[in-house]
């Protein structure tokens, strides 16, 4: 948040130096070429002005000089391209151990949730020296998350997850903006990233708002509320009507059409909201669509819970004490619940209305 006049932005991420180096190279190159062109135009115009008595003999010439210019410019352009692509790979490829944060954008605010459940609106606390990965989705129109001091941005789309990562280097407060025009208060859809030293950040995380529930826990509750476990049973149980969700995240899923997909966040989101889009091989399409019934945050919570099912099954299922009782009714319930979905494959759409 700079209130004084600057001509070069703050640099506060590991990417900033890389982008700036390329940018400054381009600035130097452009200044050299612009001065060259302007100088040449001025020199030639003045030297060959009508009043000047100079040699104006017509010379026939081929296009050698242009071909030489092309031959010189081509490798330079490809060099710039490669350098730019390299920087872009750095900007777009999040390190494995990045700290996950989820973002839901809407006209005109930013909602963040940390992995431990901590929620923030229009403010985002992060530590230095720790890569952070934001998984983002929009509730309405396209937005774009832009942190100038980190030299990176990413559009935030409705209906699909996108992600952005950065590693802050300097503690401080840095403005972030919505960079994609999104309506009346677009220019007010701003906030600040508060970068803290790891110690200050840890203190902040353990601070007052500890009441926020971890997303995986909220997700587990939703999972029960919607009785997902009725069909999506643990792998150890026989006769499940839906594929097991254990170890699902980041696994390769064979589809009915013969293709396979990687079960990333976007796939899981789509499979919850529009299950018929990518039908898992070996299962009937009986799952109802949850489009419009679960909020974007809810879906993110469910995904967070499903991710926790990734580890060895036994250990996971014991972990929270509260988990044991609910699973039993869920397992017992199939007798009553299945009535609607079990009827026939095409009953799937009918069951929509009855789903809580």
């Amino acid at each position: 948040m700079n209130t004084e006049f600057q001509i070069f932005p703050d640099a506060a991420s590991t990417a900033a130096g890389k982008v700036d180096a390329l940018y400054l190279f381009m600035v130097v190159l452009s200044v050299v070429l612009s001065v060259f062109v302007a100088g040449l135009v001025t020199y030639l115009a003045i030297r060959y002005r009508r009043a000047n008595n100079v040699n104006r003999d017509h010379v026939a010439h081929g296009n050698t000089i242009e071909y030489i210019a092309m031959a010189i410019s081509f490798p330079i352009l490809m060099g710039i391209f490669l350098w730019g692509a390299k920087v872009c790979f750095f900007l777009f490829r999040a390190p494995e151990q990045a700290m996950p944060i989820t973002v839901v954008a809407k006209q005109w605010m930013w909602k963040f949730q940390h992995a431990d459940g901590r929620r923030e609106i229009d403010t985002l606390h992060i530590p230095t020296g720790q890569p952070v990965k934001l998984t983002m989705v929009s509730q309405d129109v396209i937005h774009s998350f832009f942190v100038p001091a980190f030299r990176t941005k990413q559009d935030v789309l409705p209906g699909r997850y996108t992600s952005i990562w950065f590693e802050a280097t300097e503690p401080g407060e840095y403005r972030f903006n919505c960079a994609e025009y999104c309506g009346t208060n677009h220019s007010r859809m701003i906030g600040k990233v508060i970068v803290q030293s790891p110690e200050d950040f840890a203190r902040w995380m353990s601070g007052d708002a500890a009441s926020d529930e971890p997303p995986a826990e909220t997700g587990r509750k939703l999972f029960e509320q919607y009785q997902c476990g009725t069909c999506h049973r643990p792998a150890s149980e026989e006769g499940a009507r839906g594929p097991t969700l254990e170890g699902l995240f980041q696994s390769r899923v064979p589809l009915a059409g013969g293709q396979t997909v990687t079960a990333d966040e976007t796939y899981i989101r789509e499979s919850i909201l529009r299950p018929a889009q990518k039908q898992v091989a070996g299962y009937q399409q009986i799952m109802p669509t949850y489009e419009g019934q679960i909020s974007e945050e809810g879906v993110m919570h469910l995904i967070a819970y499903i991710k926790t099912l990734g580890a060895p099954l036994a250990a996971k299922r014991e972990e929270p004490n509260t988990l044991a009782p609910p699973t039993e009714p869920a397992a017992a319930e199939p007798a009553a619940e299945p009535a609607a979905p079990a009827a026939e494959d095409n009953a799937a759409t009918d069951s929509q209305g009855t789903t809580p």
């Binding site: 010439h61 296009n63 100038p148 009346t184």
Partner: protein
């Protein structure tokens, strides 16, 4: 067809002045039903000048608003409508139809030694479609405006905006057909109407570049029409195409939109490049250096222009590998553009340079277009674009190309051909002064915006960080100068219609068929069909003795 006009020749025969396309008839009807390409050119001139003033006024208001970081002059909603109006009008009703509509229409038939366009009535219809589209836009402006930005990104435009999206879309849709018909007319005219001896490589480069433009108009504009139709289907009938809630894909819109709108950038700048070729050749009395390469560069730009749309979408969620392909292709398009700048510059070499107003504009073009082109490389570079995308850097870049390039060339061209079009000379002193003023005002307006962009000021922001104010004040100051500078030519050119000195047939001692007929030309352009036995820009065959 022009015979019809002669029959209805209105009263007051002019004092022994030979008949030309202007004094042949004076009635309003003779203008509104004309099929003379020259008169249609002037109809376009009136139309686009009106829209230019309207679009400029919108820019004037929001630049004033941007003098302070807070909201003071207008509210956010109004601000959003103003930049949308500015974009839509300047692009669809000024830059796209501008040079082809006015100068292209007026000059192409004359330059190729033809009597008129291949389809004169279609040509008139183009103008009417353009005006009808414009009336929709005027209606929208009066009724309450539209706030989607000229880019109409979905699902904001298709579902969320409560403004006059449909009426605007209909206007652009109709105007699109004007573009298609103009393009069609140019292509057929250049192919079929060249006079004896006018081979392809004797064509003035202005014709070449308008020909390349026409190809883009015909191939690209239908995609825009389809895209608009799809938005209308979604907005009106809730058919899910772009809105994910209806099962659509919002990024699909961007692909379709930029598939037209990036080539449209070349629709706007290629004709300007053609003008510059003419101006530089005429005022350095030299053949355009590397004529064929300049001609082929126009075609290369037209073709490559269709393959780079994805560089608008590096951060849209598009795959990084797709981004790399678009980045490489965008780099390649720099080569033909650079060749052109290089060749115009070298045209001065061993020339005989006179600093008349058109050359001042052309020199301004060379400097500003170079900066516009080089900053385009920044945007084609993946690693930099991620940061500067959707910031003022982009705004500055495309104004350097569109205003620094196209508008400079347009003004230069208007001055150069004004004597031919009107039979009157413009006042040279005032014109030179305005050209310099435009250059200064332009740079002061837009150069600070490059800095603002890298600092991270997003575009389309009504309120902004206080740290950005100094640069914004500079930009607004520049815009005031630029605004005034534009009023000068409008004023003195109108003045010259009545008080300007009478123009000879060839005031610049230039070569080219348009200078071999009277000023203004007769309705049929040439008394006798010319036969061409010379190359374009053969100034070395018309050495210094000729001027006097």
């Amino acid at each position: 067809m022009s015979a019809v006009l002669e029959h209805e020749t209105a009263p007051a025969p002019i004092v022994r002045e030979p008949k030309n396309y202007l004094n042949v008839a004076w009635t309003v009807r003779s203008w509104l039903l004309t099929v003379d390409h020259k008169r249609i050119g002037l109809l376009y001139l009136a139309g686009i000048t009106f829209f230019f003033l309207l679009g400029g006024a919108a820019a004037g208001i929001f630049r004033l608003e941007l003098m302070t970081p807070q909201s003071d002059l207008v509210e956010s909603e109004t601000y959003n409508k103003l930049f949308t109006l500015h974009g839509i009008i300047m692009i669809f009703f000024f830059l796209v139809p501008g040079i082809p509509g006015v100068l292209g229409n007026f000059l192409i038939p004359i330059m190729i030694g033809a009597r008129d366009m291949a389809f004169p009535k279609l040509n008139l219809m183009s103008w009417y479609l353009f005006m009808i589209g414009g009336i929709f836009t005027l209606y929208v402006t009066v009724a309450g405006g539209v706030d989607t930005g000229w880019t109409f990104y979905t699902p904001y435009s298709s579902t969320y905006s409560n403004t006059y999206v449909m009426a605007t879309a209909v206007g652009i849709f109709i105007t699109g057909f004007s573009s298609i018909l103009t393009g069609l007319n140019f292509i057929v005219t250049v192919h079929k109407m060249r006079c004896p001896g006018m081979t392809w490589f004797r064509l003035p480069l202005f014709v070449w570049s308008n020909y390349a433009t026409a190809l883009i108009m015909v191939l690209g504009t239908p995609v825009l029409a389809i895209t608009i139709l799809l938005v209308a289907l979604e907005r009106g009938l809730k058919i899910g195409i772009f809105d994910p809630r209806l099962g659509g894909d919002p990024v699909l819109f961007q692909h379709l939109f930029w598939f037209y709108s990036h080539p449209a950038v070349y629709i706007m700048v290629l004709p300007a490049m053609g003008v510059i070729s003419e101006l530089v050749a005429a005022f350095s009395r030299n053949r355009v250096f590397g004529y064929k390469l300049v001609a082929f560069a126009s075609l290369a730009i037209a073709v490559l222009g269709f393959l780079v749309w994805g560089h608008h979408m590096f951060v849209s969620g598009q795959s990084l590998y797709a981004g790399m392909v678009f980045s490489v292709l965008s780099m390649l398009i720099a080569i033909p553009s650079a060749i052109k700048v290089f060749n115009w510059t070298l045209t001065l070499w061993r020339g005989e340079v006179t600093f008349n107003t058109p050359l001042l504009y052309a020199m301004g073009f060379l400097g500003l277009f170079t900066i516009g082109g080089l900053t385009g490389l920044f945007l084609a570079t993946l690693g930099i674009d991620v940061h500067v995308h959707d910031t003022y850097f982009v705004v500055a870049h495309f104004h350097y190309v569109m205003v620094g390039g196209t508008v400079m060339a347009y003004l230069g061209g208007i001055h150069y051909w004004w004597p031919k079009m009107t039979g009157k000379m413009y006042p040279e002193g005032w014109a030179r002064f305005s050209a310099v003023l435009v250059f200064v005002g332009f740079n002061l307006t837009f150069f600070p915006q490059f800095i603002l962009g890298y600092l991270g000021m997003p575009r389309r922001y009504h309120v902004y960080d206080e740290g950005f104010q100094v640069l914004n004040v500079m930009s607004t100051a520049g815009a005031s100068i630029l605004g005034i500078a534009y009023l000068f030519p409008i004023t003195y050119l109108i003045w010259s219609l009545k008080y300007g000195a009478k123009a000879p047939a060839n005031p610049w001692n230039a070569v080219g068929l348009e200078w071999m007929t009277s000023s203004p030309p007769p309705t049929e352009n040439f008394i006798e069909t010319p036969v061409v036995d010379f190359e374009a820009y053969e100034y070395h065959r018309h050495p210094a003795e000729r001027h006097g």
